[in-house]
Symmetry: C2
Subunit: 247 residues, 2 copies
């Protein structure tokens, strides 16, 4: 069943309105009709079965039915902080990371990062990435749409509020470090926030890793193979799902 | 350090010849010179440090030095069997799956699969996918290049030699099945072969899942979120690395 997000809270039995691109999708892509069933997720991240009651070109009125009991969110929040990446790689990180349960994405400028997002184009990039996150959240049947932001650099990143922090560090993996990720994952409590930092293709500079470590980010290895910058966040999210959700 | 594969066995102290696209890469992309260091992986999947001794336009002579002790292979073989996918998705599965440690890829035709590979184009597709596997294996510093094959369909897939088999099944995940993957992963011994089957975007038909189950493939859930066809294999490989390599 197709899932749509609304930016208001509502309860079972109430009628809600779906507008914008979702209304377009329901009518033009799904060709839905009155009495068709969809899934609606409210701003409180609660999913409901919904029945379409009325369609106009720009609005779809839906009566909320019973709640969906399945929770598709990771038990803890995982924010993926990535060095600014080229367009297709950033798109891929946000799309796949959303499917795999990330609660948010932060892009930051790093020392060895080659890709640049011109200041005057950042807003456009964010609009695009947020649209990708919304579509991936719909498709993966998430209960929330991950946030996507840009911050100025590593100093700002060290100030992001978190319960735990990790930094994927190739040198850790090379030195055979294999226990830190599992150890950190086991400490994170439900609903707490883990911020995970990933460098660019050329890696983070040792001074950048030291700066993060001084701000309580733990250096972790992600196995013995060298992962590309856009693959490492997907490994992490899959690993956390395995450790937290598959028991 | 750059890594290259040769299709012969050799021992420390011997001189080997690198030809073909690798020779081109060493000279034209890396602009290497005599006395430069590279890594060489022999047909026995053993990696060595190597020193370039001679360069001609088509051949690079390398003296093998000490062996590299790091083993970058998963402790057991994991073969990813995917329903035939559209070009860019098949490319992604092979590239990312190689980075994440797959030992091979098998593409097969399935009931709900929409993508088709015309018989007369299959050889060309395999050449392309094998080249992607080779490049990803180099980049990820793998000790072997994953195989890429096409088989006729599910009946042939059930006859592939294996020690364990799993099939990613959305219905298992929907019913809250969360233990089967971890249980299977714990049974697989070092060097044994696990074949993991993934359906197309529309999923496998119930009869196809039953056919696989009759051939000792265990249905497993990959967490509560709905993953796209090209994301599920990457989740599985990351999960197995986490369970097998991060302790």
């Amino acid at each position: 069943m197709q899932r749509y997000f609304i930016d208001q809270t509502a309860a079972a039995g109430e009628q809600v309105e779906i507008t914008g691109t979702s209304a377009h999708h329901i009518q033009r892509v799904m060709r839905a009709q009155v009495a068709d069933q969809i899934e609606v997720v409210t701003a409180a991240h609660q999913a409901y079965y919904g029945t379409i009651e009325n369609l106009t070109p720009t609005k779809v009125a839906v009566r909320l039915g019973t709640t969906l009991l399945t929770n598709t969110e990771l038990p803890s929040q995982v924010v993926i902080a990535c060095s600014i990446a080229k367009k297709d790689k950033a798109d891929w990180i946000v799309q796949k990371g959303t499917e795999l349960g990330a609660s948010g994405f932060i892009f930051f400028a790093s020392q060895y990062g080659i890709a640049k997002w011109e200041p005057q184009r950042q807003d456009k990039k964010l609009v695009r990435l947020r649209k990708i996150a919304l579509e991936a959240a719909r498709q993966a049947h998430r209960n929330l749409i991950p946030s996507v932001t840009i911050i100025s650099g590593l100093a700002a990143l060290t100030k992001v509020v978190k319960d735990y922090g990790i930094v994927a560090y190739e040198e850790s993996a090379k030195q055979g470090e294999t226990a830190a990720l599992v150890a950190t994952a086991q400490q994170v409590q439900a609903q707490q926030k883990l911020v995970a930092v990933f460098g660019p293709e050329g890696g983070l500079a040792p001074a950048e890793v030291a700066q993060l470590q001084a701000a309580n980010f733990v250096a972790v290895g992600l196995g013995p193979r060298i992962l590309r910058a856009e693959t490492a966040p997907l490994y992490l999210l899959s690993a956390l799902s395995t450790l937290w959700e598959l028991r």
